[in-house]
């Protein structure tokens, strides 16, 4: 698998570009269709609500993209959001000021991520197992911290809550989006324009190959999961000021994030994907959901649609790959009858 893919490198670079372009085209199509079909859709109100509700998923998708590209996964992000909101909430109940509470929450997020990172990178455990464990562990700690209390945004200084809800002029675009764009820029640069980032793709294909090209595999993984914890902590801060801090804050959000990232063309097998693609995936799902909800389509239907989209986007490329490989092998058989007899990689 590694050698054959490496041989096709220029081809997959080209395919990545077209995949991103196709995704953006789908997003535009969704926007055009929704605006044409729903009179209330194209309005600043939509922009505001939709983007604010998408902020957590947009942010969490950034580190998740990098992690999935390296062939790992982080299932504990939503629980980390939970534990950081609970930190802010319970410190608020204990009489702390907002800003110090936020700093502690960010620290908690970093620690939560670093624990994942250390177990995966230095102990060498599979990320799936580690983060399933911390998914439950962090959610449990959240419940211990905040119990059945609910601390809402009305408890915090007016300035912060109005900042969260502030819009850029009459466009309806929330000011917080500036932070999201900044964070996205950082991740795009790290992934696509640094040796570290390019090393992550190598890591997704083969750990040995990545080591040979100079990637320090354990540290790379450690920093990725720590970054994931930090971003989750920022989402936690947003969550507690926009929604509220409760034991079930962001419960189950990791599935939405992973679904959107996969829909955005990041390969679950690692080694393939872009930040722009992942973010487009998030926006496609948010827009479809928002538009259908505006038509009062029941949530049951929404979930079925999201699930089907995901299956199509994950299965689609695999089927294409399998077909292509079959053709290649047939061709190779004609020229070299004793070529490697390897099975088709299924999904």
């Amino acid at each position: 698998m590694p050698e054959s893919t490496a041989a096709r490198r220029p081809a997959w670079v080209a395919r990545l570009l077209t995949r991103d372009a196709a995704l953006i085209a789908v997003l535009v199509l969704v926007l055009v269709l929704a605006s044409a079909a729903l009179p209330r859709f194209a309005s600043p109100v939509t922009v505001g609500y939709l983007l604010l509700n998408a902020v957590p998923v947009l942010l969490l998708a950034l580190p998740m993209t990098l992690i999935i590209i390296t062939g790992e996964i982080d299932l504990s992000v939503a629980s980390t959001v939970g534990i950081t909101t609970a930190t802010i909430g319970s410190l608020n109940l204990a009489g702390w000021e907002f800003l110090p509470a936020v700093l502690v929450a960010l620290l908690v997020g970093v620690i939560a991520g670093a624990v994942n990172g250390a177990l995966i990178a230095f102990v060498g455990l599979p990320s799936l197992a580690v983060t399933i464990g911390t998914l439950a562990l962090y959610r449990g700690l959240t419940l211990v911290l905040i119990g059945d209390n609910s601390v809402s945004s009305s408890q915090y200084p007016e300035g912060f809550t109005s900042l969260i809800n502030a819009k850029v002029g009459a466009t309806g675009i929330p000011i917080v989006m500036g932070f999201v764009i900044l964070a996205a820029a950082v991740f795009i640069i790290v992934l696509h324009a640094t040796p570290f980032g390019r090393g992550l793709y190598a890591l997704g294909f083969s750990k040995e190959a990545a080591t040979f090209v100079g990637v320090h595999v354990p540290w790379a993984k450690f920093w990725l999961f720590t970054a994931s914890g930090l971003v989750a902590a920022f989402v936690g801060v947003f969550w507690s000021t926009y929604y509220s801090a409760r034991s079930d804050s962001a419960n189950g959000l990791e599935l939405t994030v992973i679904a959107a990232v996969l829909l955005g063309g990041v390969s679950i097998f690692g080694g393939r994907g872009t930040v722009i693609g992942a973010l487009t995936g998030v926006l496609i799902i948010s827009n479809i959901n928002y538009a259908l909800r505006l038509q009062r389509v029941p949530d049951v239907v929404l979930i079925i649609i999201t699930g089907s989209l995901l299956i199509v986007s994950v299965v689609g490329p695999s089927v294409v790959d399998a077909a292509r490989r079959r053709i290649q092998r047939a061709r190779r058989h004609r020229t070299r009858p004793l070529a490697e007899a390897r099975g088709i990689d299924g999904a």
Binding site: N53, G71, P126, S150, I258, V300, V314
Partner: protein, 355 residues
């Protein structure tokens, strides 16, 4: 990863494929079942043809379905355009997008049953700014975020009724536990608080409340919590479950376990759902009100608010169709009625209360 690497890429692939499939499966599974009604549309005019939207805690809950059936009935009587929308889970924040949608749809009466009293406030304020009348039903938001709160019966009444039923069965001593819905459900917590207070204040109630557990209004989780309770506290004399999902799941567990008839179970249950457990002796008594009346009264209260006959001030009175006339209490509270107690003697009169 080391191990997996040495054996080529396929086991790792299987792991990750498992994760991917899991994600998909979870998305799809949570989509199972459910009939979420809801017709689109929005009308104009003072009251006739007005639009009313109900946002309960979640859908797929038999209690809520029944509640909304009353709301739908009243909306038809009043000629309102009726809509309902809610998330699939009773999470604190999952209701907010639904409120926002109704705001954007320009609904004139917004009836909400908040999963979190404060988190919904900003969205409700948006709705109000758009001219909508806000009513909470079942569980309340912060007082300043709504015009009226329609409650089934007083918090004290609910607490006292359940404690009396438990006392009748096990007397005033022994270990008891509470199986609630979600840890932050305002109505559940208010009842639990009132029960704890009444136990402390009463001379007759000498119970030892050993645990309060949360089944999240999820049938499976409630069932497992009930199992866990009886395993952890083998001497448990009684369980109070002030939620229809919880009491049904607990009764189902008890009915097939060695504890059947040994552990008393009281709480708030749907007669249609609980009848079999009364019949087989798992449960001796439970209580509720007619949930459809809550929805019905909410719609009529919405009409009165919209027409301006009431403002939500204490002492305002309004007509509520088949239920008669109601008066607004302090803090905009309207109480539907008394707690209705069910026993094997009267269950057949009420078993229409089901889903």
């Amino acid at each position: 990863m080391e191990f997996l690497r040495k054996h080529g890429s396929s086991p790792r692939r299987r792991l990750l494929t498992f994760a991917a499939t899991g994600t998909v499966a979870a998305l799809l599974l949570s989509a199972c079942a459910a009939d979420a009604g809801g017709e689109a549309g929005g009308g104009e005019g003072s009251s006739e043809g007005a639009s009313i939207s109900f946002i309960p805690k979640n859908l797929n809950n038999p209690y809520i379905t029944l509640e909304l059936s009353g709301a739908k009935e009243a909306a038809e009587e009043l000629g309102f355009t009726y809509a309902e929308a809610a998330p699939l889970d009773a999470g604190a924040d999952s209701q907010i997008p639904f409120i926002q949608t109704e705001v954007q749809n320009g609904t004139q009466i917004l009836a909400v049953s908040p999963n979190d009293p404060d988190a919904v406030c900003p969205a409700l304020e948006d709705a109000r700014a758009g001219g909508a009348k806000i009513i909470t039903f079942d569980s309340d938001s912060a007082v300043e975020c709504r015009d009226l709160f329609i409650n089934q019966t007083s918090v004290e009444g609910v607490a006292a009724g359940q404690l009396e039923q438990l006392f009748d069965q096990i007397g005033g001593t022994g270990e008891i536990a509470i199986l609630s819905a979600t840890a932050a459900a305002p109505n559940q917590n208010a009842w639990i608080e009132a029960m704890i207070q009444q136990i402390e204040e009463s001379d007759e109630y000498e119970w030892d409340l050993v645990a309060t557990v949360y089944g999240d209004d999820d049938d499976t989780k409630s069932f497992q919590e009930a199992q866990g309770l009886l395993q952890s506290y083998p001497d448990l004399a009684g369980i109070i479950s002030p939620t229809t999902v919880g009491i049904a799941a607990t009764a189902r567990y008890l009915s097939t376990s060695e504890y059947k008839g040994q552990v008393a179970l009281v709480g708030l249950g749907l007669p249609g759902q609980m009848k079999e457990y009364l019949d087989d002796g798992t449960v001796q008594a439970f209580a509720l009100w007619d949930p459809s009346e809550v929805g019905y009264l909410t719609a009529y209260a919405g009409k009165a608010l919209l027409e301006g006959t009431i403002t939500g001030a204490e002492g305002d009175t309004f007509d509520a169709g088949k239920l008669g006339s109601y008066t607004v209490g302090p803090d905009g509270l309207v109480i539907v009625g008394e707690l209705l107690k069910f026993t094997p003697e009267n269950i057949d009169e009420y078993d229409y209360i089901s889903f």
